[in-house]
């Protein structure tokens, strides 16, 4: 059962906005009202009693004015120029939070506007150079075989262009932190976040404080989905600057409108495919051109682009492949991490494209896929050899059977002729790499620990955080199973950088697989220490183990053991050429969506959803199923409802009223099935699961809509107006076929 579940269902779990410190002030942010420009002058309206307020500008930053991530180009506060709407410029704090809105409005910033770009096309054309000389935040070239040689021998060459929109995380709890400071203890940040050590690293630089004078504590976090990977470093930095100046604790909690307008979103994308295929459906090679809109600063775009690039070829064997990818700057708030991290974008493109390649060749979509699936012994786009046990064909067969795919595919096509409500069924096959890309895990060198208290309570010490996905439960389960004790006596230590070792950020579907394995090692070591000390034998009860741990603590002062990351053997990754083992393991899936398209009001409803996946061993079936269902629901929104409306780089619909996510009435039955193939190097055979379910639903749904309407839809979100426009244009589009 969920470790912190009772507190959550009783409303006693304490989130950041539930905490009040004595003498605490409330902070607010004055933000840029324009997309790009030079700051000429900042004036404070004399109608406000400014003496009551703490005021912070970039001039108050003691260290480097940046939020430390990869390239360190993201300012904490704009000093001379602003590069996107909502960029923070001035911070205010006051004891009465109701006084802040008026004060924020009374800070006038005068700008000299500079030209800005607001789409991939504008950035690519260099309508204005807004980042570096060419607006390119990052680019990759990934090559396999000799793609230039394939075109002459192709029976068909199929081209396509696919687009995906931005997506707002819409965690139900907005971003928030509290900062406090004392000379003795230094700076302490409490906050809603995924990665306490990211915040720590960033604050050390910004505040010019020694590492041991910055402490970051994650409190109960109300959803994140990647949206609390990078931005908490920003809001924590703001609170830290205010507390330093005010000398009193400061809370900053965004309201929904501010959170939606100012914080990160999923990168919009445009992907172009050109594929060579034989008349019997064998893929010969492809050129893929992938572009992400990174927003105004590079933040995490290089790593998002990396994952998008590696996943661009999907779960197929490509003898020859070239992927060129770029992340381009535009003048919107930086786009950041969001569940899937680039893979949903490139997998949408390939999985829509596969249906169109199948149509060109004259094969059923599932048959074209089946003929080209990655199988054991074949190599991925990066040259990674597929291990034994991977069986996409079986996942496909099972998903088709469970959804009644074959029969429905034919029957719907037959019945749709006479109907205004047109039904369709579509599928997507895909993979998701678990853990950091390439050498990331080796560079990170994560550590997990376990300790025992004097009264024999056993604790898991990690910086991996709980934000709904089940970290606490899974890691305690792994520790209990390894120690051979009851789950109830294992607790999570606090996610506090002054207490726990750095087990890495809580991202990339790495918690169960990578950190779980470290917890397993730390637990093994604890058992070993107690065995060596002669305090336990081969067999013991939970009580005997606790007594032994307690005795050890009594005698030695503490019992603390660690697990250190060790890369699986024979793993090789070339960061320059993008060759080798991109991920320790991939999760695999085939999803099937059944839809109804109303040709009167053009609404699309998802009627049924089957999700079949192989994620290694499933450690906790209830949590794993919940992860898949939740991911599918978010992706239904990504496909059909969630549209960020941009006006000169600013989100115009930054309200739940007009940014629509799926409600309980929009969600189809989501039927979740697991195939279990244990992964040798994951904790108890686990692989990553959290992000996988975000990847497949959008292409499966759009494939189903295309099936229902016989029209080619190539972009998400697919709103009723998009369906209407397309169906009004042409009854069906003919795939451009060259050299048939």
């Amino acid at each position: 059962m969920r470790k912190e579940g009772a507190a959550k269902v009783c409303g006693t779990a304490r989130y950041i906005d539930d905490i009040t410190l004595p003498g605490m002030l409330h902070g607010a942010t004055v933000r840029s009202s324009i997309a790009r420009g030079r700051i000429k002058k900042i004036t404070f309206d004399p109608a406000i009693p400014w003496g009551e307020f703490t005021i912070v500008t970039a001039a108050d930053i003691p260290g480097a004015n940046c939020i430390a991530l990869i390239q360190n180009d993201w300012p904490c506060l704009a000093a001379e120029v602003v590069n996107h709407p909502e960029e923070p410029i001035v911070l205010l704090a006051h004891a009465d939070k109701h006084r802040l809105a008026e004060a924020v409005a009374a800070v006038r910033v005068e700008y000299e506007p500079l030209p800005s770009v607001h789409s991939i096309a504008e950035s690519e054309r260099k309508d204005a150079a807004v980042w570096g000389e060419d607006n390119v935040l990052k680019s990759y070239l990934m090559e396999k075989g000799d793609v230039d040689a394939v075109w002459a021998g192709a029976d068909f060459i199929v081209e396509g262009e696919y687009e995906t929109g931005a997506q707002e995380h819409l965690y139900i709890e907005n971003n928030g932190v509290i900062a406090e400071y004392s000379d003795a203890a230094g700076l302490t940040i409490y906050g809603s976040m995924q990665c306490p050590f990211y915040v720590h690293k960033s604050l050390v630089k910004l505040m010019a404080l020694p590492e041991d004078k910055v402490r970051v504590v994650q409190v109960e976090t109300g959803g994140a989905f990647g949206g609390k990977e990078d931005y908490p470093s920003m809001i924590a930095a703001h609170a830290a600057l205010l507390v330093r100046k005010a000398g009193r604790p400061v809370k900053i909690v965004y309201d929904r409108a501010e959170d939606m307008a100012a914080t990160t979103k999923r990168h919009p994308s445009r992907t172009r495919h050109r594929t060579a295929v034989t008349k019997d459906g064998k893929l010969l090679g492809a050129e893929i051109d992938l572009v992400l809109d990174g927003g105004a600063y590079s933040t995490l775009s290089s790593t998002v682009l990396s994952r998008a690039t590696i996943h661009a070829g999907g779960c197929y064997f490509w003898p020859n492949l070239r992927v060129r990818s770029r992340a381009l700057a535009t003048n919107s708030p930086p786009h950041g991490a969001f569940r899937g991290f680039g893979a949903p974008q490139s997998l949408f493109a390939i999985e829509r494209h596969m249906d169109r390649v199948a149509a060109a060749v004259g094969l059923a979509p599932e048959e074209l896929r089946r003929r080209n699936f990655l199988r054991p012994g074949l190599t991925t786009s990066t040259g990674q050899v597929i291990p034994e046990g991977v069986d996409l064909e079986h996942l496909l067969a099972r998903a088709m059977e469970l959804s009644g795919y074959k029969e429905k595919r034919q029957r719907f096509a037959r019945e749709n002729e006479r109907r205004a409500l047109k039904k369709g069924i579509g599928l997507a096959a895909f993979l998701h790499g678990a853990g950091f890309t390439g050498s990331g895990e080796r560079r990170m060198g994560s550590v997990a620990a376990m300790d025992a208290t004097a009264d024999g309570m056993l604790r898991v010490l990690v910086s991996s955080t709980e934000f709904g996905q089940g970290t606490n439960t899974i890691l305690c389960q792994i520790a209990a199973e390894t120690l051979g004790v009851d789950y109830g006596v294992v607790q999570m230590g606090p996610a506090d950088t002054s207490v726990v070792p750095n087990s890495g950020p809580t991202v990339a579907s790495r918690t169960a697989m990578v950190v779980g394995r470290l917890v397993e090692s730390a637990a093994k070591e604890m058992r070993h220490v107690l065995t060596e000390a002669g305090l336990i034998g081969e067999q013991y009860s939970t009580e005997e183990f606790q007594r032994a741990a307690s005795m050890y603590v009594g005698k030695h002062g503490q019992l603390r053991t660690e697990g250190h990351y060790e890369a699986p053997p024979n793993v090789f990754w070339d960061d320059e050429l993008y060759r080798g083992e991109a991920y320790g393991a991939y999760a695999w899936a085939v999803y099937v969506a059944e839809v109804t398209v109303d040709t009167v009001d053009y609404r699309v409803a998802v009627d049924d959803f089957v999700a079949v996946q192989e994620v290694g061993r499933v450690i906790n079936p209830v949590l794993a199923t919940g992860q898949v269902e939740g991911g599918v629901a978010q992706a239904v929104g990504y496909a059909l409802y969630e549209k960020v409306v941009w006006q000169k780089g600013r989100m115009a619909n930054n309200q739940m009223t007009n940014y629509i996510i799926a409600t309980s009435q929009d969600i189809p039955p989501i039927r979740v099935y697991f195939e279990e193939v244990p992964y040798k190097y994951g904790a108890y055979g686990a692989k990553g699961i959290g992000e996988l379910p975000m990847d497949g639903p959008a292409p499966a749904i759009v494939n189903a809509v295309s099936h229902a309407t016989s029209a080619d839809f190539c972009a998400v979100p697919l709103l009723p107006e998009d369906v209407m426009t397309k169906l009004a244009q042409v009854k069906s589009q003919v795939v451009e076929v060259v050299g048939a």
């Binding site: 969920r2 959550k8 409303g11 989130y15 139900i172 709890e173 929904r256 709904g468 089940g470 309980s664």
Partner: protein, 161 residues
């Protein structure tokens, strides 16, 4: 606007607060009465995280001026059960995996409670409709539907005893 003395019954206890009449019931509950189990998600009545029962009806407490709650019976998540003694709906959410990040959970449980008060054996379709005003971003709703059905079954079996 001056402060007004407002009396209401919260979780069975009569409470008196001095508040601006237009202050949100949500803020009064959280800040003046310390009942932080009720959450703010959107502040505009879209997400239902702040749902409470007011005279037996489900309301978004972010949309209720506290003056309107004068003399009303208010029930918040804290009025249902405690970790030591869970309400059947809370217990079902815990066991079925109906709560992930927990932020929508108090409001969702109040919505489920309200539904089950008016309909002891709701169908899946009635549950989908009954919870339609409460957004969850984590679960995809399936575990929540199962929790409501489990709670209904439990209530039924207890009533039969």
């Amino acid at each position: 606007m001056s402060l007004q003395r407002i009396v209401m019954t919260v979780n069975g206890v009569e409470r008196t607060v001095d508040a601006h009449p237009m202050e949100r019931l949500l803020d009064v509950l959280r800040e003046k009465l310390g009942l932080t189990g009720t959450k703010e998600g959107c502040g505009e009545g879209e997400c239902g995280a702040c749902s409470v029962l007011m005279d037996g009806s489900l309301v978004n407490s972010c949309l209720i001026p506290v003056a309107q709650a004068a003399h009303a019976q208010i029930v918040t998540i804290e009025g249902l059960g405690s970790p030591e003694k869970l309400d059947p709906v809370q217990e079902a959410f815990l066991h079925c995996g109906g709560s992930q990040c927990g932020m929508c959970t108090p409001g969702m449980i109040m919505a489920a409670k309200c539904l089950l008060m008016h309909n002891v054996k709701p169908s899946r379709e009635e549950i989908r409709e009954g919870l339609g005003g409460n957004l969850c971003r984590c679960t995809g709703y399936m575990r929540i539907f199962e929790a409501v059905e489990a709670a209904a079954r439990k209530q039924e079996s207890e009533a039969a005893r």
